[in-house]
Symmetry: C2
Subunit: 394 residues, 2 copies
């Protein structure tokens, strides 16, 4: 049920008397959340930068504006029962200002800070005794050299804020390389380069009421810092580690007061699990849930931020594989390639985001489900490659 908001502002309702949700950002996460909202009869209002944004192309309730403008954020919030986000780039003080004005913002500013600032997140997680890679804030060559004496070279430098898809992350082999990054002047932390077996993600959702739900832990495969493949459930993961990853994510959701979807990116190492990143929104590691889980992360995010009871997270097939479709060198010809992948794999599920095709940009994803994991991985990879390049793997 709707929590009454401070003051006498009436809570706007949409069609059928059902809630209106505002989402800041018009990317593919908003686009896919809109699909989920349509099913539930909810109304989604999107604050987008441009009417060419992924979600703006397909949603009726689009407001053009800046996510760095309090006036624009407020104009969105005034139409909505709750405001949520498709990215982490809304400045914390603006979110606090909305909250102080009595708007319901989920996740709230207190939680969201841990998804916006990697240094604050690392410090909080360390304080909670959650295993993270060794880290330290660095502002100078001396800081980096001092840290390198403990963890050795190469090490990782990360922008404390604003990074995504491998942007804002640099593996540096020596002081000279570190100097180049330091010269950018951005706020940095240094991290040990952890020898890892693979990367995992534990995606959960939590409602204001405190109900929580976890999807099976997945393996995420990265290439050049970009997620290219997600396998659900993570193959060969012991039940013990899987439960430990889910418990950790659920505990973090609770400790940090997250409302909505929380994706915890993890390193699996010989010494156990380390937390790499947090995202407090639907996440690339959860796109497989659209077909692969009884409740998708997009539906669940809506249910969570509106404090509806959460949906079942059970798998709909023994294995689910998602592969991201990246833009290739040829922006044209996608329609023809789509014909070919449909002809080759009638059970493939294709998701395209309406985005301008640029090399390396995530422009969509494909999902396959079934019993034979190696075959599923090959099918997903072949389709994603073909949609990018127009050539089938040999």
């Amino acid at each position: 049920m709707a929590v009454p908001r401070p003051g006498d502002r009436p809570v706007p309702r949409g069609a059928m008397g059902l809630p209106v949700v505002g989402m800041v950002g018009g990317g593919q996460l908003s686009r896919m959340t809109h699909q989920a909202a349509i099913a539930l009869g909810l109304s989604l209002r999107v604050l987008a930068d441009s009417d060419h944004d992924s979600a703006a192309l397909v949603a009726s309730g689009v407001t053009l504006g800046e996510h760095t403008s309090l006036a624009d954020l407020r104009a969105l919030a005034q139409q909505c029962e709750v405001v949520t986000f498709d990215h982490e780039h809304v400045p914390g003080p603006l979110i606090e200002a909305l909250e102080q004005e009595g708007f319901d913002v989920q996740p709230g500013s207190v939680a969201l800070r841990y998804a916006q600032d990697k240094l604050v997140m690392r410090e909080r997680l360390a304080a909670l005794a959650v295993p993270v890679p060794a880290f330290t804030p660095v502002a100078s060559r001396a800081d980096v050299e001092g840290f390198a004496r403990h963890v050795g070279w190469p090490l990782v430098l990360k922008a404390a804020t604003g990074g995504y898809d491998g942007k804002g992350v640099w593996v540096v082999r020596d002081v000279a390389e570190a100097d180049e990054v330091l010269a950018s002047g951005i706020r940095l932390l240094a991290e040990a380069l952890v020898p890892l077996r693979r990367e995992l993600a534990a995606v959960v959702a939590r409602s204001p009421f405190g109900q929580a739900a976890a999807w099976p832990v997945v393996e995420t495969v990265q290439s050049d810092g970009i997620c290219v493949e997600v396998i659900a459930p993570a193959p060969g993961l012991s039940e013990e580690l899987a439960l430990s990853a889910q418990s950790l994510a659920l505990r973090l959701a609770d400790e940090l007061g997250v409302v909505g979807v929380l994706a915890v990116e993890l390193f699996e190492t010989d010494e156990g699990l380390l937390v790499n990143e947090l995202a407090m929104r639907p996440h690339n590691s959860g796109h497989w849930t659209i077909e692969g889980a009884r409740t998708s992360q997009f539906e669940q995010h809506l249910r969570a931020v509106l404090d509806y009871p959460l949906g079942a997270t059970t798998l709909t097939a023994p294995w689910v594989v998602m592969a991201n479709v990246l833009g290739g060198d040829r922006p044209d010809g996608l329609d023809e390639r789509l014909h070919h992948v449909f002809a080759r794999d009638p059970a493939l599920k294709v998701h395209l985001y309406g985005k301008q095709i640029r090399p390396g940009r995530k422009i969509g994803h494909v999902t396959v489900l079934g019993d034979d994991l190696p075959a599923l991985r090959a099918r997903a990879a072949a389709a994603a490659d073909y949609l990018r390049s127009g050539t089938w793997p040999q």
Copy 2:
């Protein structure tokens, strides 16, 4: 691939160079087709009567206009690669006019006539030796009495055009009741009231290329002429009858030149299958495919009208049950009821159409999937009932 259109009219393309599809009618079928279009990266343009129409509430590309206006239809068609329909009410001559102007309309006017006019359909099916209930056109009491001498009372009178959801169908017990219907002056046919075991539906899709795909045959349960429940696959249906129903639907799609989804409503009788109705669009008997089949009828309809290769129609669970949610006496309180059904059944999939709630109106549907058919039927019925009435069955 796009078929070049006559004349020099450029074929408009949407985001990513992918096709733009026009859909006439802003009802729930357009709404759910829009969800499917979003996934595929396609752009849907909807011609809606009002911005409160089910699809108009959620789609960006909405044109307000009349489906009986050639100018409005043309304005839609000019934006689109292909035009299709969410209902059968566009006058045939207008569809022919669009075709003559070189627009690609699917299904075309020749096929669509059989979904628009029950008398024309019955005559054509009879000529194809497809079993249908005994029928005759009737315009007078004498006609009805003559027919009654062959088939007995009660018999069925049907409006040749324009009926839906039990509207335009009258079971009449005697001449006096027939007179009342005849007095309306609408074009009628009379049909034998067939003793039936149950109703089935065979839903298939066909592309211009001639590719066709069939979903498993389903049982449809009606109450007061409105479909209330669909069970996939039809329980206890022999493989022979199932194949015969699918073959019949595929044959009709081919013979009638249907492009897109064709739903064939069937009576199962002691003497075999009889065709009741045809619909050439996504149909209520196919809503279960959203979660219950690898390719939904909405995605398939888009793929078919655009001449993309069709998708796999395999079930995603042993049993799938859909129940329609009808409007109840209380238009308010749906949000609270939604909380309760989510809490009671976390695996239930809810679809609400954004429509004004009126008693008996289809305002949504719910779907459940699994192994235990009696339990699934009970869950679907309970949820649909509760969303309507706010009370759980005892």
